[in-house]
C-alpha cells in the first residue's frame, strides 16, 4: 500500500538550534521526493521526524491523512535506508532482510520466502546466507534497501543513500533505486546533498536551507527557474546578473523591473560578430578546461564580473584561447530567468504550500 505524506507546520528545536521552522511538505502517493540541502539545513532531522526517530515540538505528520507524529517508529510502517546501511553485522543477509517480518511475528516460512523475493528484487538472489561483512558497498546498500521494503511499508525513507559509494557505483545505484521504487510504487522521501543524485532519482526535489524549504519543484523547473539566488547557485553553476549590471537588455517585460537574471552556463554562449542575443557582455577568457563531454570557459568582463559558459565537447575551440576577448550572450530569450525580489514574484508557486 502506498500513501500520501503530509508535513504540516513541523517545528523542531534541538538544544539551542531551531532546526526545523514550521516546514510544510506534500508528497503524493507513490511519489519520489528528495530533500536537498547543505549539511545543517535540517533535511536529516525532517527525515527522522517522518521516521519517528525524532519528536516534533509542534506541527503534524500525516500518513494518508492520519496524524502519526505521536506514533513510535515501530508503528509507523516506514522503511528506512541509513547512510551507513546499519545492517546487523551478526545476521546473514537473509536474516537482515527478514528482520521486519520477525518483528511483525510472521512465521518462519513467510520470512524466508519474502527475504528471497526481496533479494531477488535487488538482484542479490542466492546470497541469503552470506554475512554483511563479506559484501561490497553496493551490495550492502541493496540489502539495506531490500530490508527496508521487505515488510511492505507505506513510506520509504532514504538517508543519504549514496554517500558511502564511489562515483560510478553511485550513478548505477541511483538508476537502480529509481527502478525499484517505480516497481514497488512506494512513496519515497530521500535526503541528499548531491544535486545530480536528487535530480536523477526524484519526481520532485525540495531544497532546504536553514530549516526552511526554499523551493519545491520538479528537477528541471528547479534548475531553470530557481526562486532565489541560493537555489540558483546551489543547483550547479549559474551566471547571475543583477539589474544594475546592465545586461538585461531587450528582454520582454524586463524594462524598469528589478531582480537578478539567471543564465545557466550552457545558455551563455560566445557570440559571433554582430549576432544579437540576450544579456550580452564583453569578456576576456581567463580559463578553459576540458571536462569530457563539454568545455568550460571562464571569462572576466572589464568591470570584474565572471562569466561562465559551457560548450559541447566537440566544439572547435580555436577562437576561445585564453586571453581572447569575446562577446557572450544568451541566444534564447526564454532561457533568461529573472528572480524577482520578494513580494514582487507572483508567478512562482508559493514555497511550502
Amino acid at each position: 500500500m502506498t500513501v500520501p505524506v503530509k508535513i504540516d507546520q513541523v517545528d523542531v528545536t534541538l538544544g539551542p538550534n531551531h532546526v526545523l521552522k514550521r516546514v510544510c511538505l506534500d508528497v503524493k502517493a507513490g511519489e519520489f521526493v528528495t530533500l536537498l540541502g547543505a549539511s545543517g539545513s535540517g533535511k536529516s532531522t525532517l527525515l527522522n521526524v517522518i521516521a519517528g526517530l525524532q519528536g516534533v515540538d509542534s506541527g503534524h505528520v500525516l500518513f494518508n491523512g492520519e496524524n502519526v507524529e505521536k506514533r513510535p517508529p515501530q508503528k509507523r510502517n516506514v522503511g528506512v535506508v541509513f547512510q551507513s546501511y546499519a545492517l546487523f553485522p551478526h545476521m546473514t543477509i537473509g536474516e537482515n532482510v527478514a528482520f521486519p517480518l520477525l518483528a511483525a511475528r510472521r512465521p518462519v516460512k513467510e520470512r524466508r520466502a519474502v527475504a528471497a523475493e526481496m533479494l531477488e528484487l535487488v538482484q542479490l538472489g542466492g546470497m541469503s546466507d552470506r554475512m554483511p561483512a563479506s559484501l561490497s558497498g553496493g551490495q550492502r546498500q541493496r540489502v539495506a534497501l531490500a530490508r527496508a521494503i521487505a515488510a511492505k511499508p507505506e513510506v520509504l525513507l532514504l538517508d543519504e543513500p549514496m554517500a558511502a559509494l564511489d562515483k560510478q557505483l553511485r550513478e548505477q545505484m541511483q538508476v537502480e533505486i529509481k527502478r525499484i521504487q517505480r516497481q514497488v510504487g512506494i512513496t519515497t522521501i530521500a535526503v541528499t546533498h548531491d544535486q545530480t543524485e536528487a535530480f536523477t532519482m526524484s519526481d520532485r526535489v525540495a531544497i532546504m536551507h536553514e530549516g526552511c524549504f526554499v523551493q519545491i519543484d520538479e528537477p528541471e523547473a528547479l534548475y531553470r527557474r530557481p526562486v532565489t539566488e541560493y537555489v540558483a547557485k546551489f543547483l550547479g553553476e549559474a551566471n547571475l546578473f543583477g539589474s544594475a549590471d546592465g545586461v538585461l537588455l531587450g528582454r520582454p517585460g524586463a524594462s524598469g523591473s528589478t531582480g537578478t537574471a539567471v543564465i545557466r552556463p550552457e545558455d551563455m554562449q560566445p557570440l559571433v560578430d554582430g549576432e544579437s542575443a540576450q544579456a550580452c557582455v564583453e569578456a576576456t577568457v581567463t580559463l578553459v578546461s576540458f571536462q569530457g563531454e563539454r568545455f568550460r570557459v571562464e571569462a572576466v568582463t572589464p568591470d570584474g564580473m565572471t562569466v561562465i559558459s559551457t560548450l559541447p565537447g566537440n566544439t572547435d575551440m580555436g577562437r576561445l584561447a585564453v586571453g581572447s576577448r569575446l562577446r557572450f550572450g544568451c541566444r534564447q530569450p526564454e532561457r533568461v530567468h529573472v528572480i524577482r525580489p520578494e513580494g514582487q514574484d507572483a508567478a512562482r508557486e508559493p514555497v511550502a504550500a
Binding site: A51, P73, F82, A86, F88, F99, A103, R130, M131, A133
Partner: protein
C-alpha cells in the same frame, strides 16, 4: 606489530626487559608452588624432595578437596550469572539515560570494586544473623559474590555498548522491532563476546574470593579458597599447592580452548561468508 616495535625504538629493549622482570614476579611464585606440589615427601618445601604425583592423586581422590571445588564452581557460577544479568542490564540502561544520570549510575555500578571484602562480609553476616532462614543457605554468599563480580562484568560490557552503532537500533526500530526484540536479537548478540569476557573476569574474581566464604557459608561446607585457607592454617601439606596448580592449569586450559574455539568459529564463519 612492526609499527609498534619501530615506533618505540631504543625504548623497546628496556621496556621488554622490565616487563620480563615484572612477569617473573607473576610467574616465579607459581613455579615455586608447582615445584613444591610434586614432592614425594610430606612437607611443603622448596626445593621439593624427589618427584612424585602422589599429592595430585591425593587431592583428586579426596572428597575434602573435590567437594569444595564443586561447590566453588556452583557458587561462582550462580554469582557470575547474577552479575552478568544485572551488569549487562546496567550497561544497557546507561546507554539510555541522560548523560548526567548515566554518570551517577555508572559510578554506582563500579563502586563495589572498591568495597573492602572484610567490611562487606561483616555486613552480610549481620544480615544472616537477623534472618535465620538465610544462615543455612547460600543466598547471602551468592548475592555478595554477585555484587563483587558485577563491576567487572559491567566494565567489560560497557566497553562494548559504547561501541554499538546507534544506527542499528534506529534501523531496528523503524523496521518495527520493540525494545525486547532489539535487546534479544540485535544488542545482546553483538555484546556476547564482551559479556563472555566479563563473565570470565568476574568468575575468576569470585572463584578466588575467600573472605565472604569465611563468614557466610553454612556449616559443614567449604568453598575451594576457604578449603585452601584452612589447609594453610591447619597443616601445610603439598596437597594445597597440588590443588592450586590443578585449578590454575585447568583455568588456563579452559581459557585457551575457549580462545581456540572462538577463533576456529570465526574462521569457519569467514569460509562460509566468502564464496
Amino acid at each position: 606489530m612492526r609499527t609498534a616495535a619501530s615506533a618505540l625504538g631504543f625504548y623497546r629493549a628496556p621496556i621488554l626487559l622490565v616487563s620480563l622482570l615484572a612477569g617473573l614476579m607473576l610467574f616465579v611464585p607459581f613455579l615455586v608452588l608447582v615445584a613444591t606440589s610434586w614432592t614425594s615427601g610430606g612437607l611443603l618445601l622448596f626445593p621439593p624432595q624427589g618427584f612424585s604425583l602422589r599429592w595430585y592423586e591425593t587431592v583428586l581422590q579426596d572428597p575434602r578437596w573435590m567437594e569444595p571445588f564443586a561447590l566453588s564452581l556452583a557458587v561462582s557460577a550462580a554469582a557470575t550469572l547474577l552479575a552478568v544479568i544485572f551488569g549487562t542490564a546496567g550497561a544497557l540502561a546507561v546507554l539510555r539515560l541522560s548523560p548526567r544520570s548515566a554518570r551517577v549510575v555508572r559510578t554506582l555500578f563500579i563502586v563495589p570494586i572498591a568495597l573492602p571484602p572484610v567490611a562487606y562480609a561483616i555486613g552480610l553476616y549481620g544480615v544472616n544473623l537477623q534472618l535465620d532462614a538465610l544462615r543455612s543457605s547460600f543466598v547471602t554468599l551468592i548475592l555478595g559474590e554477585a555484587l563483587i563480580a558485577l563491576p567487572y562484568v559491567f566494565v567489560v560490557v560497557s566497553a562494548a555498548t559504547g561501541r554499538l552503532d546507534p544506527n542499528l537500533r534506529k534501523a531496528a526500530v523503524t523496521l518495527g522491532a520493540g525494545w525486547p526484540l532489539i535487546l534479544r536479537r540485535v544488542e545482546l548478540p553483538l555484546l556476547i563476546p564482551n559479556i563472555v569476557a566479563g563473565a570470565v573476569f568476574g568468575f575468576s574474581i569470585v572463584f578466588d574470593e575467600v573472605v565472604l566464604s569465611v563468614f557466610l557459608l553454612p556449616p559443614g561446607v567449604q568453598t575451594l579458597p576457604l578449603k585452601m585457607l584452612s589447609a594453610s592454617t591447619e597443616a601445610f601439606s603439598p596437597a594445597l599447592t597440588a590443588a592450586s596448580t590443578m585449578v590454575s592449569l585447568l583455568a588456563l586450559i579452559v581459557l585457551a580452548l575457549f580462545a581456540w574455539l572462538s577463533r576456529a568459529g570465526a574462521r569457519r564463519m569467514r569460509k562460509v561468508s566468502t564464496p
